[in-house]
């Protein structure tokens, strides 16, 4: 094998090269407003190319929920120059993988390809940024696919149903109340014109940015971007209304009945997210609190509720400090056999109360921070994850260049600050509690061995 020798040459070149520029991530904005962000990662001869649009389900209007995600599907259904299915076919032929995802805050498209295929990917993405066909028959067919996706991911998933309904109750004014995939009845009545209006409103270069991570020179990427995305005209964007959530005035409770075995408890507290990277303190303290409660197998919820008290089969926490809309801090779990949902609720409340009264220990704080830094280094192993991190920060209005500051801010969090957020935000007035009430399956299901073999 020639590899050992092949590896020597770049290393020698490297020794003679001048020190790298201060930032290894580069950025340029085209005259039409499209921003291009490039991170050079030359470990392997591949690139990931992503196009992010600042439009997600939170930008939808009543009666048209799910349109952001349906449009994402339709983006694979052709333009005049590349017909239905052609996008996937050409990515596959290029040796690539591609897909897309819609969130509350954004819609994004990506391809992972060998590095020399980047130009073709840009040509394809630029084409569908402006020239989508949105054929009526293709639309009708794809809507059926999306309804199958809703059945698969939500309607037949008790946990997802609970989450969907809890969210719809926790938020009343803010569009975060709506499921990303849309309500089934809205999907049933969605028209091609709705998708067209969505596309025309939001799919403009001045509402998008491109993220490229991989083995490619940033100047070359900028040149390709100018060639392919440069000719697309900027357009005025619709006004975004804030739709702020009014204050919650007391605990909200709901129950979801669905076929399942284990009950599930989900508690969601209204908490802040990062709005000012430098001045904010609380969102960082909440991140550390989440890590202390459930950041590893020995964390508090697992140790106290699952292992010592045997109150829960599982107990978890979820909090995302970055979002365009309002934040929720989730505590959730399933009670052990013989224990009740209310006992588990009391147990979860007791864990918050313990932080409120006695703060967190120096060891716990150091541990949470050690995991955080290690996690950032592990992220460097994946070009896809690096591109995701850049894209997600930008989507919520935090420049990717602030990532270093975000991590410093997390490192600066003190035990007192963690205690302060536990005291400040976890009161009943800000709480929504959802319970999955498991319903037995018909007896035929419980004895599949008895089913006939034909």
């Amino acid at each position: 094998m020639l590899m050992r020798h092949a590896r020597l040459i770049p290393l020698l070149l490297l020794l003679a090269a001048p020190p790298p520029a201060l930032a290894e991530t580069f950025e340029q904005q085209l005259p039409n407003g499209l921003r291009v962000i490039v991170r050079e990662d030359k470990r392997a001869p591949t690139v990931v190319h992503m196009v992010w649009y600042r439009a997600g389900s939170m930008d939808e209007t009543n009666g048209r929920t799910g349109v952001a995600h349906v449009l994402e599907h339709m983006m694979f259904k052709g333009t005049p120059s590349a017909g239905p299915g052609e996008f996937n076919r050409r990515v596959a032929a290029a040796g690539g993988r591609d897909n897309a995802f819609t969130s509350r805050d954004y819609t994004a498209y990506f391809q992972q390809v060998p590095r020399h295929q980047l130009a073709e990917m840009m040509q394809l993405e630029a084409d569908r940024m402006r020239h989508l066909t949105l054929d009526r028959d293709e639309f009708a067919q794809e809507l059926r696919v999306v309804m199958e996706e809703r059945r698969l991911r939500t309607d037949d998933q008790p946990q997802s149903l609970l989450f969907e309904q809890l969210t719809a109750i926790a938020f009343q004014a803010h569009p975060y109340r709506v499921p990303i995939i849309g309500w089934m009845n809205d999907l049933e009545n969605l028209a091609p014109a709705d998708a067209r209006a969505w596309y025309d409103n939001w799919y403009a270069p001045n509402n998008a940015y491109v993220v490229v991570v991989g083995d490619i020179d940033h100047q070359a990427v900028f040149a390709l971007a100018a060639q392919h995305y440069g000719p697309l005209p900027a357009r005025p964007l619709p006004v975004r209304k804030p739709q702020d959530e009014p204050p919650q005035l007391g605990t909200r409770r709901l129950t979801v009945k669905a076929p399942a075995e284990l009950p599930l408890l989900m508690m969601a507290y209204k908490v802040p997210v990062i709005r000012n990277v430098d001045q904010d303190v609380d969102p960082y303290a909440l991140e550390i609190l989440a890590a202390v409660l459930a950041g590893h197998d020995g964390a508090r919820l697992s140790t106290n509720l699952v292992r010592r008290q045997r109150l829960a089969v599982e107990a978890e926490v979820s909090y995302d400090a970055t979002a365009r809309g309002p934040g929720l801090f989730y505590l959730q779990g399933s009670p052990s056999e013989g224990r009740t949902v209310s006992e588990l609720e009391a147990g979860l409340r007791a864990e918050i109360a313990a932080v409120r009264q006695n703060a967190v220990t120096v060891d716990e704080l150091a541990r949470a921070k050690a995991q955080l830094i290690a996690g950032q280094i592990y992220k460097l192993d994946s070009m896809f994850e690096q591109a995701m991190e850049i894209g997600q920060l930008e989507a919520v209005g935090i420049p990717y260049t602030q990532n270093r500051r975000l991590i410093e801010k997390l490192q600066e969090v003190t035990a007192e600050q963690v205690q302060a957020v536990a005291r400040k935000y976890f009161d009943d007035q800000q709480l929504t509690v959802g319970e999955l009430d498991p319903q037995p399956l018909p007896s035929a299901v419980r004895a599949p061995a008895a089913a006939a073999q034909r």
């Binding site: 092949a6 290393l11 490297l14 090269a17 030359k42 470990r43 392997a44 001869p45 591949t46 299915g85 996937n88 076919r89 596959a92 040796g95 690539g96 992972q112 390809v113 060998p114 009708a140 067919q141 794809e142 059926r144 696919v145 199958e148 059945r151 698969l152 309607d155 037949d156 083995d215 076929p259 075995e261 284990l262 590893h296 197998d297 020995g298 964390a299 292992r307 399933s334 052990s336 056999e337 541990r367 921070k369 050690a370 830094i373 280094i377 592990y378 460097l380 192993d381 994946s382 070009m383 270093r404 490192q411 399956l441 018909p442 035929a444 299901v445 599949p448 089913a451 006939a452 034909r454």
Partner: protein, 431 residues
């Protein structure tokens, strides 16, 4: 240097690394008799070590279904001198992560750690303790057993779980691959059975270590020696029986879900079998190639019947399955099943077209670098090579092996491996 500074220096360094095709794999055996595969890469200060034991569910004794998973869970829940919480805390203190699981053939314990000497030394000591001195405390055993029973009961309400289990039972009616843990079988397990399963299967001759990352060969050798020194040298049960092929049949299971889950499958392929490449290339066109496969086009794009439809081969130590799966609104289950069978029959009769073959090769060869563009990707590929004793130049020859597949190879391989008289069908919630 504080950790933040380190992180951002690393980001700077990423732009300066070398480029290569397939990783260079080194292989040796430890004194205790464990196999080691090592890929040295210093691009990032990360070390991954995956230890795979031939301790999957196929090695469970009759009446002990569930013992393999329970054993794997318990090895990291208490070691000599450290209870489960202390172990987890020390691991987290150095930012290290322990992962893994159990499949039919393998029980895996995977460590990811930073490579700085102080962090790495702690993480390796903890992994060595997990490998050599697990204590299986009685109280922890009882608790984890109860948790397993609870999650199993929950899983058995899910249509996808019911379908997958019924399919494996039907594909392997009298073979260990078809054996499934039930709430009853797990509840009946006793601690001595776990101890016996561990003693018999977590041994040096049954272990393969895959090490990828920021270590020298000498450091990797020292680590592998240390990790395996205390493992017993007993070889244990080696061969899994050859499964008999089932008679084709159809099983329906009632369920209140809105969607029917349809699965078709049969035992088809062993690791290392030369039919692997023609089947891989052919299956790309049938149902493996994501959005461009025949099944996806027919079932999703043309008829809107499903969100996802796929087919794949899962080669194992013995004949692993070929499987087709999809989910659709229950009212259209029959239509989707009929269409799926037509697509399969058409493919078996004619094989792929010239254009499909070309497209399959373009993608499978072109995308090969994507599988190896991270330490994690290299680890996954090399661990399979190690555990199943594939040739060390497997990755180097992979593109050539794809390239030389012909239409005739594909038709012949499918004719040998996917015979309709052995294909079993499971439909959950299809009424």
């Amino acid at each position: 240097m504080n950790p933040c500074q380190l992180l951002f220096l690393l980001l700077l360094a990423l732009g300066m690394q070398t480029t290569h095709a397939a990783p260079q794999i080194e292989r040796w055996q430890t004194t205790a008799g464990a196999r080691v595969l090592f890929v040295e890469t210093h691009a990032l200060p990360i070390v991954d070590i995956q230890v795979d034991f031939a301790a999957g569910t196929a090695y469970e004794g009759a009446g002990q279904a569930g013992v393999a998973s329970l054993t794997r869970e318990l090895v990291e829940l208490g070691v000599a001198g450290m209870d489960e919480a202390q172990l987890a805390d020390r691991m987290a203190d150095v930012g290290a992560e322990l992962a893994g699981g159990v499949d039919r053939d393998r029980a895996s314990i995977a460590l990811r750690t930073l490579s700085m000497a102080d962090k790495r030394a702690v993480a390796l000591d903890l992994l060595r303790a997990v490998l050599s001195t697990p204590q299986f405390p009685a109280a922890v055993f009882e608790r984890e057993k109860a948790r397993s029973v609870a999650s199993l009961k929950e899983a058995l309400t899910r249509p996808e779980t019911l379908a997958e289990r019924a399919l494996w039972t039907a594909m392997y009616p009298s073979h260990p691959y078809g054996r499934q843990a039930t709430a009853e079988s797990v509840a009946a397990l006793e601690r001595p059975q776990v101890l016996a399963f561990h003693a018999a299967n977590y041994t040096a001759p049954r272990a393969t270590l895959t090490i990828v990352g920021d270590l020298s060969r000498a450091q990797a050798e020292a680590a592998a020696e240390k990790l395996t020194a205390a493992l017993p040298a007993t070889p244990g049960m080696t061969a899994i029986a050859v499964p008999e092929l089932p008679r084709s049949g159809e099983q329906r299971i009632a369920h209140p879900a809105l969607q029917a889950h349809l699965l078709l499958g049969l035992p088809a392929l062993k690791r290392g079998d030369p039919d692997f490449f023609p089947l891989l290339v052919g299956n790309y066109s049938l149902g493996g190639g994501g959005f461009v496969s025949r099944l996806m086009k027919a079932v999703r794009d043309q008829r809107g019947l499903a969100y996802s439809v796929h087919s794949y081969f899962q080669p194992l130590a013995q004949l692993g399955p070929f499987e087709i799966g999809l989910q659709t609104k229950k009212e259209q289950a029959q239509e989707a099943l009929k269409l799926t069978r037509e697509v399969l029959a058409g493919f078996l009769a004619q094989g792929p077209s010239e254009e499909e073959l070309l497209a399959a090769k373009q993608n499978l060869m072109g995308s090969f670098p994507l599988r190896l563009d991270s330490n994690r990707g290299i680890l996954n590929s090399v661990a399979v090579i190690g555990f199943y004793e594939l040739p060390l130049d497997y990755l180097d020859r992979y593109p050539d092996n794809i390239e030389k597949v012909t239409l005739a190879d594909i038709k012949a391989a499918f004719a040998r491996r996917v015979r309709p008289q052995h294909l079993v069908t499971v439909i959950v919630a299809g009424e």
